[in-house]
């Protein structure tokens, strides 16, 4: 197609471009412009009522070389991720396999109940967990005491604060991941299982040799979404521990929020935002590539 042919095609489709224009206009104003502005901010320093002072990459250097809190918040996020994601994905697949059993009754009831946490706001649930995990009189410690187990400082000790956040995230997202896994399982042909049974494969072997490999794309999706979710977490620590005790459960976004809106170090906070962005970029690009790949096969058919 020559240059003229291209321009001709574009002008012939004027109306169609108008149909997709709203997204791109909104993206320019509320997406692209803020990202570029954010990068500009990260290279500047701001003091109340004074003009912005350009400082080059000083904010980044301070963050990476001198700021212990930044590294702590990165460590916390990675910690929450490592404890939470494998357990949550394993649980979700395990439950999905059980629900996918044709002999299982009341499947719909379980599906609905398990999905309730996903529908509810993080903040309401975080507040309930805050009450349940109270040191002195929370239900969890009272129950433990009944069995003679000394109370655990769920929210007020540096060793447990991240674990409590993990429990909250697992509670909230297992059902969502289970639904995704279940949909994946239902797309596997039942004949494959029949064949495996005739070959005398036990249920454990069937799982590892048939179900798991066929479920890999689904688990990949769960993994990428959980990675992004964990690195962007804010509301969970904000309500449950407020990042404490000390900085033991502060997350990257909570640190960003405090720097920007409590201490008004806007340039510095923008640098935190950009570094977080770079960290999340890798799993994001992976997922977008998977989508784009699938899109190509979709367009071809």
């Amino acid at each position: 197609m020559g240059r003229r042919g291209f321009l001709h095609d574009v002008s012939r489709n004027r109306q169609v471009y108008l149909f997709i224009a709203p997204f791109f206009i909104l993206f320019l104003v509320f997406g692209l412009y803020p990202i570029i502005y954010s990068f500009w901010l990260s290279l500047h320093e701001w003091k109340a009522n004074k003009p912005w002072i350009p400082v080059g990459f000083k904010n980044y250097a301070t963050l990476l070389l001198k700021d212990g809190v930044f590294w702590t918040s990165l460590y916390n996020v990675v910690y929450v991720f490592i404890v939470n994601v494998p357990i949550m994905i394993f649980l979700s697949v395990f439950i999905a396999v059980m629900l996918n059993n044709p002999a299982r009754r009341h499947k719909d009831v379980f599906r609905i109940v398990y999905l309730l946490p996903y529908v509810t706001s993080v903040l309401s649930i975080a507040i309930v967990f805050y009450v349940l995990f109270d040191d002195r009189a929370g239900l969890v410690n009272l129950l433990l005491a009944k069995f003679g187990i000394p109370g655990v400082h769920w929210l007020t000790s540096t060793s447990m604060s991240k674990i409590s956040i993990d429990i909250l995230i697992t509670w909230k997202w297992t059902g969502y991941n289970m639904i995704i896994a279940l949909a994946g399982l239902q797309s596997i042909e039942t004949q494959i299982y029949d064949a495996a049974r005739i070959d005398g494969a036990g249920s454990v072997r069937t799982f590892w040799q048939i179900t798991f490999p066929l479920l890999r794309p689904v688990i990949g999706f769960q993994f990428i979404m959980s990675t992004i979710g964990t690195f962007n977490m804010f509301t969970e620590p904000y309500f449950l521990t407020n990042g404490g005790p000390g900085y033991s459960s502060i997350s990257l976004v909570l640190y960003l929020y405090r720097s920007a809106f409590k201490f008004f170090q806007l340039g510095y906070a923008a640098a935190i935002a950009f570094l977080t962005f770079i960290v999340v970029l890798i799993p994001s690009v992976l997922q977008v590539r998977i989508w784009a790949e699938r899109d190509r096969t979709y367009s071809a058919t």
């Binding site: 502005y37 309730l116 529908v119 899109d295």
Partner: protein
């Protein structure tokens, strides 16, 4: 494997699933019962005991009395309604274009939209806040709605879903309408749109959940009390009234969860199909 071990294993599975169900339901039960209980009752072992004061709506009355909770419910409802309407219109018209027209740059533009789904919203929070300040939009509805179209399950994800639903609209109907001299927009509005009602419902539900539960962006964009959303109001109760009336906070949490739970129960199948649509085709 004997028949007996299969039976035993099935029962163990059932027990496991029931235990899981109890764990997932318990916080809701606790929230609801707690909204009628005193602090001493909430912080006690007797979780199964009914509230001492009976089913007494004093905390709900207190919420609507002076804490501005009613006002925040109205704000959240207004914001959600406008937000959902905008998303449904923009995403369905764009989805229609992507599914039914071949035009230069179609694939590149579509992948560009997909890519923005992955954009972490926190990169834009600070500049957006500065922008809102400059536009004098802090504590307004448009601040809660317009930038939010690009965050979370916003316009990008909805366009992605709507294109799938639009692709099921039969080509023949569209071309015969075109022969009759129907314009592109009229074809979209009068022919395509009525055929993707279920898709619109899916998008509406997912997006409603996302905007109703949103906390981080309102926390940044809103400072005036009478513009608070439900989430912000609960956060304020939690921050200021903690240790005073836990029952009232539980009542607020329950009230904010209720619309979503009801809608989820009514449209559960549509909801589930919407959730899985992002993971597969």
């Amino acid at each position: 494997m004997s028949r007996r071990t299969i039976a035993v294993r099935k029962h163990i599975g059932t027990l496991f699933l029931i235990a899981g169900a109890i764990i997932f339901i318990f916080p809701f039960y606790f929230m609801f019962m707690g909204s009628f209980k005193s602090n001493a009752e909430i912080f006690s072992m007797n979780i199964l005991r009914l509230p001492a004061a009976g089913i007494n709506f004093q905390y709900y009355a207190g919420l609507f009395g002076k804490s501005g909770f009613g006002r925040s419910l109205i704000n959240s409802a207004i914001v959600s309604t406008i937000y959902i309407s905008l998303i449904i219109f923009f995403s369905s018209v764009a989805g229609f274009a992507f599914a039914k027209y071949k035009f230069p740059g179609r694939n590149v533009l579509f992948v560009a939209i997909l890519a923005t789904i992955m954009l972490p919203p926190q990169v834009t929070y600070i500049p957006l806040f500065i922008l809102m300040t400059k536009l004098k939009w802090v504590s307004t509805y448009q601040a809660l709605i317009l930038p939010r179209l690009l965050q979370g399950f916003g316009l990008a994800f909805s366009t992605f879903l709507m294109r799938q639903y639009m692709s099921y609209v039969p080509e023949e109907i569209l071309s015969s309408a075109r022969v009759d001299g129907c314009g592109d927009f009229r074809i979209y509005l009068q022919i395509a749109l009525p055929m993707v009602k279920s898709g619109l419902l899916v998008v509406g539900l997912i997006v409603f959940m996302d905007i109703w539960n949103d906390f981080t962006w309102p926390l940044i964009a809103i400072s005036k009390l009478d513009m608070y959303t439900v989430a912000l109001n609960i956060s304020r109760l939690f921050g200021t009234q903690r240790e005073v009336y836990w029952g009232q906070i539980m009542a607020a949490c329950f009230m904010s969860s209720l619309p979503l739970i009801v809608i989820f129960l009514v449209f559960r199948r549509t909801f589930i199909s919407g959730i899985t649509a992002g993971a597969f085709k």
